[in-house]
Symmetry: C2
Subunit: 230 residues, 2 copies
């Protein structure tokens, strides 16, 4: 059984905050927990905040383009672009909600590094083996509605390769590379209300074999050359 | 807190089986549980099985094309197509793993109806209000690794519209339509091993407000005209 435990009582995050300390103050972690932290609080802790006049569409657009390496589609104020990290998402992940008026939160420069930093700090303070995922809310092609995905991870597999594993009938599974990091991010999202300001969720009971060094950039981001839809 | 409870001990499913009975024999459901059932057992129960020589690439291709309304991309034995339901996925959801040698499982004809059938049967036998999701394992654009998504649902919201809800700072959230059905499917996947033959997972503790009439077809499938990547 897996439990999804929202962390309540974490105060408003400001630049310089050590998220590991805020998580540890809010809960008693156990070995092999996965701590899923939202991009927003990671960006706040890392000071990835810029001033922008949100009422000015051109100012917003300039900011999104400056955070992009390539614009894929643009329509009615929505820009789908590729970020420096290789993420394809709306508005380059620039976020105007849940931040102070007149400011926007940008994606962390290196969300895998952000996750490693939190994981290392938790390890240093508690000795516990845990996984950390930095999550963000992305749209996707072909399907309506947003889902939370992993933009960074540490200590937990991004993609689990089950190719070659036998299925229940003893036949080899053809292709079953499961993106458990995205599934962990999605699961965590279910446990937090969107507007209730819960910045972290603990996933307890994940497969032990998933705990290993990994990164979203190396395992999840699909190279443009391999991508049929870019 | 949300719990993800894998249902063990469900026997091999054969055409004509009533999945609601198999679920109820395997566990004690509670009100407001979400029962996530894999496409594979739904297809088996509904007899959506066809003979195919899996060793013949042309036979496999013909079957995939016959299950598609439109082929979007084709490369090295992989076909990305649009199914009659409007799903964009690999090989039209035709599945050769975890079925008997020489057979393939096709997607249910109407997965929302499949979910409603299970939900109605559970309601009739227990009186409980539950949600039911039929899940399948899909790839996606831009990101490596597969994740489980909802292909049908009943009694539980597919997409929750949080537009107009205030964020923690009292500002209106711009666009936050969350596809909770896909997140529930992804969460459920974490609780079942891929090769261990667990066909159903209970999600306990979902938001009460998500329990309403809904359908994946109406809320999640994006019309081609609205789609920037088709």
């Amino acid at each position: 059984m897996i439990s999804l435990i929202p962390l309540e009582g974490i105060p408003e995050v400001v630049p310089g905050d050590e998220l590991a300390d805020l998580v540890l103050a809010a809960t008693q972690l156990a070995a092999y927990d996965v701590v899923v932290v939202t991009q927003k609080v990671v960006s706040k802790a890392e000071g990835r905040l810029v001033a922008v006049d949100a009422s000015d569409p051109q100012a917003r657009r300039r900011l999104v383009v400056s955070e992009s390496v390539r614009v894929l589609r643009e329509r009615e104020g929505l820009i789908i672009s590729e970020t420096r990290h290789g993420f394809v998402c709306a508005n380059a992940g620039v976020d105007l909600s849940n931040v102070a008026e007149g400011t926007a939160a940008l994606l962390p420069l290196d969300p895998d590094r952000s996750a490693r930093h939190i994981r290392d700090a938790i390890k240093a303070r508690t000795g516990l083996v845990v996984g950390v995922i930095v999550s963000d809310t992305f749209g996707r092609a072909w399907r309506n509605g947003l889902t939370d995905v992993a933009i960074g991870c540490a200590g937990i597999a991004a993609v689990v390769d089950l190719r070659g594993t036998l299925d229940a009938n003893g036949r080899e599974l053809a292709v079953t590379e499961v993106c458990v990091a995205d599934e962990l991010a999605a699961a965590a999202e279910l446990a937090k209300g969107k507007a209730s300001g819960i910045p972290a969720v603990i996933v307890r009971g994940a497969e032990r074999s998933w705990f290993r060094e990994s990164s979203v950039r190396a395992e999840v981001v699909r190279a443009a050359a391999q991508d049929l839809f870019r």
